[in-house]
């Protein structure tokens, strides 16, 4: 209830008082918790499996590709999907599993009113919980990133080039923010629903919706709004653009596009490409890093903006919530 009746009223002190105490405590909780160990085991196993298989496959083609190391992330060997595919799938689950009970859990343990009676603002508690989740996720992902590089060095016997390292670091950053959006979503539900089970189910429902159904819905929407009446090129183009536009509402599409552009330097556009766009282009030649980044800049900002938006929403809800037990 910070909406005050008197304008120009200023709160005393910084809203971030106590923020780092909250972050430290929450991170300690995450890192010592059983939940975290299970998640780590899952992700390390998948990382090891997929990357090991990819490395074995790539050993036969060493020397044919300038970006061999990046292909560790993207090459899939049947029946395993590529590592990035696994990440797109697992990171939301980890993010949701970490935060779905962060606020309502405090409420149910009856610790919330006691914590808020300390000289801190609610801002610090909510933001501290979010940051702790994000740091934990970043820690796990960085560890895996390092493991993959080590594995690559051993199995491929080649050092990565500077550009490969920089590109994969951007990929790491994008993955953390991709986790951030799901974390903000789970946090929102944990503020909204008093029962952690409801919050977890709601978050998983949203994730399933985007992971499984959204691409179909995007196609159907595009077909409905831009039907092919005469089979003209313009119609086909319009429909394909609409379909791409709708599917980009899903963070999963955004993340897939980001990883594609970062880890496959030859990717220079998404969606349909017209022959006129191919004019003067040397097929198969990689883009410089700056150009790849330019290509995914909208997607990356979109991810971050959605995270900020979801967090702001849970912030407003949390501020207006009655904390009486």
């Amino acid at each position: 209830m910070t909406v005050s009746r008197e304008w120009g009223r200023v709160r005393e002190g910084s809203p971030w008082t106590g923020l780092w105490a909250v972050v430290a405590k929450e991170m300690a909780d995450y890192l010592t918790g059983v939940r975290m160990r299970i998640l780590e085991a899952i992700i390390v196993l998948t990382a090891f499996g997929t990357v090991f298989a990819a490395a074995e496959n790539l050993r036969n083609t060493v020397g044919q590709d300038r970006f061999l190391f990046l292909r560790l992330f993207t090459v899939n060997v049947d029946p395993l999907p590529a590592f990035v595919g696994f990440l797109a799938f697992l990171v939301p689950l980890i993010a949701i599993a970490l935060t779905f009970d962060s606020v309502n859990g405090e409420f149910n343990r009856r610790t919330l009113s006691r914590i808020l009676a300390q000289p801190i603002y609610r801002d610090a508690l909510l933001f501290g919980k979010f940051l702790a989740g994000l740091f934990t996720l970043a820690l796990v992902l960085t560890t895996i990133w390092l493991l993959i590089f080590g594995l690559g060095l051993v199995r491929l016997g080649l050092p990565p080039s500077t550009e490969e390292v920089v590109r994969s670091l951007w990929f790491l950053l994008a993955t953390v923010f991709y986790g951030g959006i799901w974390m903000a979503l789970a946090l929102l539900f944990s503020v909204r629903f008093r029962s952690p089970a409801t919050a977890a189910l709601a978050s998983i429902a949203v994730w399933l919706f985007f992971a499984v159904f959204w691409s179909m819905i995007a196609n159907v929407l595009a077909q409905l709004l831009f039907p092919l009446r005469y089979g003209l090129v313009q119609e086909v183009l319009a429909q394909s653009r609409a379909s791409l536009f709708f599917s980009r509402i899903s963070p999963i599409t955004l993340y897939t596009e980001i990883t594609l552009a970062l880890l496959r330097p030859t990717v220079r556009a998404f969606g349909l490409i017209l022959p006129t766009q191919l004019e003067g282009m040397i097929l198969g030649s990689p883009l410089p890093l700056g150009q790849s980044l330019l290509l995914i800049w909208p997607q990356l900002t979109g991810l971050i903006a959605a995270t900020v938006l979801l967090f702001a929403l849970s912030y407003v809800w949390f501020q207006r919530q009655e904390i009486r037990a």
Binding site: M1, S4, R9, R11, E12, G13, T17, G18, A21, V22, A24, K25, D29, R109, R110, T111, S113, R114, I115, L116, A117, Q118, P119, I120, Y121, E322, I323, R324, A325
Partner: protein
Amino acid sequence: MEEWVIQTQDLTKRYGDFTAVDRLNLQVMAGEVFGLLGPNGSGKTTTILMLLGLTEPTEGSVRVLGLDPARQPLSVKAQVGYIPDQVGFYDDLTGRENLIYIAKLNGLPRAEAFRRIDEALNRVGLDEVADRPVGTYSRGMRQRLGVAEVLIKRPALIIMDEPTLGLDPEAARDFLGLIRNLKSQGITLLLSSHLLHQVQTVCDRVGLFHRGRMVLEGTVEELARRVLGGGYRVHVEAQGDPQAIEQSLRQLPEAKRVTRSGPDIYTVEGARDMRSEAARAVVQAGGALRSLRLEEPSLDDVYAHYFREVEDDRQS
């Protein structure tokens, strides 16, 4: 130092059409123990939340330690300890770890925090179990850990919501002893409760809540005088002619009411202790006095009596 630790003026909180707290004027002096009494849902907890700045008042003003909790919540919360009802801790952390977190949130330097934590744990008698997870603590121990937590701040005021609810009689008695101990250190306490007989023994003054309004306020004796007419009841057990004895007791100038509650038992109500007069009256009426017992005014009586009247008024 402010003489008034808590001052509210026409403090009102509405949730939609429902008025949780209605024009409350509450004053608590430094060093006193004040009890907010009333049935569940009568506005006690809402009042406490407004005092801490955890809920904004709809109307009226609050001053706690001379500060406005809505404008200066950090200064207020740094000096005021709050123990919510059914206080909760992180069960998988030890008692000490729980307190360390609170000390960090209060921004205490490390060495100072450890010193205060040891001192507080010692004070509430939890130093031996401090390194066990809170999950293994009993209700009474959790409640005492709650006190240790607020003591870390060295508070000027402690607010407790239903402190003895759910404690067994012995734990409750220990806890009330702890409250008296705090009072003797000069800390002001505000308690809310509906367990009247427990609160009565520690509170200097009480305020009775009913439907969001503080309907009565004062010391227990004052309330008893106001609501019960007399505060003191003398139970007289005497053998002899019942009519003569009753007649004789009724003639005592200060007796407000005389009733016969048993075959040989009479109850005399008066504004003060009337044991000696009653004894004389029985002897004068030719009765044989068997026993004489003084019943001090109890909050339970005040409460029951008051709310019976309120209900009667509403029905008529």
